[in-house]
């Protein structure tokens, strides 16, 4: 801030300083406890991916083994479930991000009739419980005699991803300098070329963020998929089915693998942004 620094008119007593110091550290200490709490279940998931369970239930530590990682697809059905989840997540995030980016552009750039209504339409799916989203889509498909399977899952995933894509892209577009586009047009670029050469490169980070977010939401979705999958099994559905008879440790292996990939991707993103900030 550019406000003028006014010297503080009061001296801080030693007691106040000690208290402030103490409070500062209580908060830090608490935050570390909080992070430990957040990580506890994840640590369990990772640890039990190396467990060597004797019975059906992978709840009690029995012994260390690499076997679950070596034979990660050693459980019938797990491989096809992962493949289906990846396919759906990839397609759904691409479609939803494309549609969402277009909506975000329209909302931020243009004043038009129906803007408020559109905002509400975007906001509604975010504020509807997943079970209602899944159930209503199920009744639509049932009443139209649609066969449940790959396409119904994809339709559902695109539907609940669009709003997230809009919100993500919109947030970055708001702080976007329109003069850059006007400059391009003044220099003789037409609208499409301006979009290609100026708008798209500048919004690329937002679009990438939306893609990743949609991918993560899609690959993790259980409820809506459960209602609209028919006999198809995605990875979360596989876990659900397996949980009833005792989830095999391979489930933990896949969970850990997804976790590591996602965290690595995000870590790179954070470090990349940090470097850009330092350079700027």
């Amino acid at each position: 801030m550019t406000s003028i620094a006014v010297p503080r008119p009061r001296g801080r007593t030693a007691l106040a300083r000690t208290l402030a110091f103490g409070r500062h550290h209580i908060l830090t200490f608490y935050s570390f406890l909080f992070f430990a709490y957040l990580m506890l279940p994840i640590a369990i998931v990772i640890a039990f991916s190396f467990n060597h369970p004797t019975g059906n239930f992978n709840y009690v530590w029995q012994g260390f083994t690499w076997d679950n990682w070596r034979y990660w697809d050693g459980v019938p059905g797990i491989r096809s479930a992962i493949v289906l989840s990846l396919e759906i997540a990839l397609l759904a995030s691409l479609v939803a991000t494309a549609l969402g980016t277009m909506i975000a552009l329209a909302l931020v750039r243009y004043g038009f009739r129906g803007r408020g209504t559109t905002n509400i339409l975007i906001f509604l799916p975010l504020s509807t419980p997943e079970i209602v989203l899944g159930a209503s889509l199920l009744t639509l498909f049932l009443n139209l005699n649609v066969i449940f399977g790959f396409w119904t899952i994809l339709i559902a995933h695109v539907m609940f991803c669009i709003s997230f894509a809009v919100v993500t892209v919109k947030a970055r577009l708001v702080g976007f300098d329109r003069h850059l586009e006007e400059a391009a047009m003044d220099l003789g670029a037409n609208e499409w070329r301006t979009f290609q050469k100026v708008t798209l490169p500048l919004t690329a980070p937002a679009i990438l963020a939306a893609l990743l977010l949609c991918f993560a939401i899609s690959i993790d979705d259980f409820v809506v998929t459960y209602f609209n999958s028919g006999s198809k099994v995605t990875f979360p559905l596989f876990v659900w089915g397996a949980a009833r008879v005792g989830a095999p440790p391979q489930v933990n292996v896949i969970g850990t693998a997804i976790f590591i990939v996602a965290v690595t991707a995000m870590l790179f993103n954070v470090l990349y942004q940090r470097r850009r900030e330092v350079r700027a």
């Binding site: 906001f123 799916p125 539907m159 997804i258």
Partner: protein, 288 residues
């Protein structure tokens, strides 16, 4: 420039069309079908017919009142817990995170890249009868010798609180991060104590985040059935469990559809009451 100006009026609609159409056909229209289904009567073998059967709603409330109440109760308690647990951390990251802010945020989000169901199964392990949490609590005589956590409401609320935590923590962080530090300094310059400055400046300014976080946590939590299924017993089942089994196991579509609408209505009422308490301005402020 000519091209641009001539088509200006049409461009936004062209940009909107595909996405809005998708949401209309696969979100709004299905809600209509759900409403239509909720007023039907009959059974799966002879087919359902639309008969303005409002009785579905009455029967749902009469037969499943405990599950409805439990859903709002569990979701409400979990939301309060999430708020209390994550506010100090959001504050810490926003005001003391410095150059580590993004990394710390990553730590908050990271656990949620482990599939929801696997996370919940991990809680099943943590809270299980021979886990260290139960042993410790038995040792401290908080739990009786045969006392357990799994299959209790405590386990379900624990699971819900954990599973929706980032929905609370991130909006809190965003609103705290936007607070202009000089406002707090000004309050202190005007002889407010740290506590007064927090209560009079920081807390009110972070209210949009509190409201957004509360809604983003409460709404999905009220419709959840995974935690109750995996961590609770049938006595802890929420309305989501009933809707799920009516739809997918008992194929009693009209009953399940009417329950979905009652759930939505219950959430709306809860949100409206909440809005009265915190003020509508805050609520609409976060909506856009």
């Amino acid at each position: 420039m000519n091209f641009f100006h001539r088509h200006r009026g049409l461009t936004p609609y062209l940009l909107l069309a595909p996405g809005v159409a998708w949401l209309a056909v696969f979100f709004l229209v299905p809600l209509g079908f759900l409403a239509y289904q909720s007023l039907q009567s009959g059974n799966i073998d002879f087919g359902y017919a639309f008969t303005w059967s409002w009785g579905n709603y009455w029967h749902a409330i009469r037969d499943y009142r405990p599950q409805f109440v439990r859903s709002l109760e569990y979701a409400g308690i979990a939301t309060v817990f999430a708020l209390v647990i994550s506010y100090p951390v959001a504050y810490w990251i926003a005001f003391r995170g410095g150059r580590w802010k993004n990394l710390l945020l990553l730590f908050i989000v990271a656990p949620f890249f482990v599939t929801y169901l696997i996370r919940t199964l991990a809680w099943e392990t943590i809270l299980s009868d021979n886990g260290f949490v139960v042993h410790t609590l038995q040792h401290l005589h908080v739990l009786g010798p045969g006392g357990r956590l799994l299959a209790t409401s405590t386990a379900v609320v624990t699971g819900i609180t954990y599973n929706f935590l980032p929905f609370m923590a991130l909006p809190l962080y965003v609103s705290l991060e936007q607070i202009d530090g000089s406002l707090i300094e000004a309050a202190e310059d005007l002889y407010a104590s740290k506590l007064q400055a927090f209560l009079r400046v920081t807390l009110p300014l972070s209210l949009p985040g509190v409201v957004a976080g509360t809604l983003l946590t409460f709404i999905p939590a009220a419709g959840d059935f995974i935690n109750a299924q995996l961590l609770g017993s049938p006595e802890n089942h929420m309305i989501g469990n009933v809707i799920q089994s009516k739809f997918l196991e008992l194929t009693d579509y009209p009953a399940a559809a009417s329950m979905s609408f009652i759930l939505m209505a219950g959430i709306l009422v809860a949100v409206a009451v909440y809005a009265r308490i915190v003020g509508t301005e805050q609520l609409t402020g976060t909506a856009v």
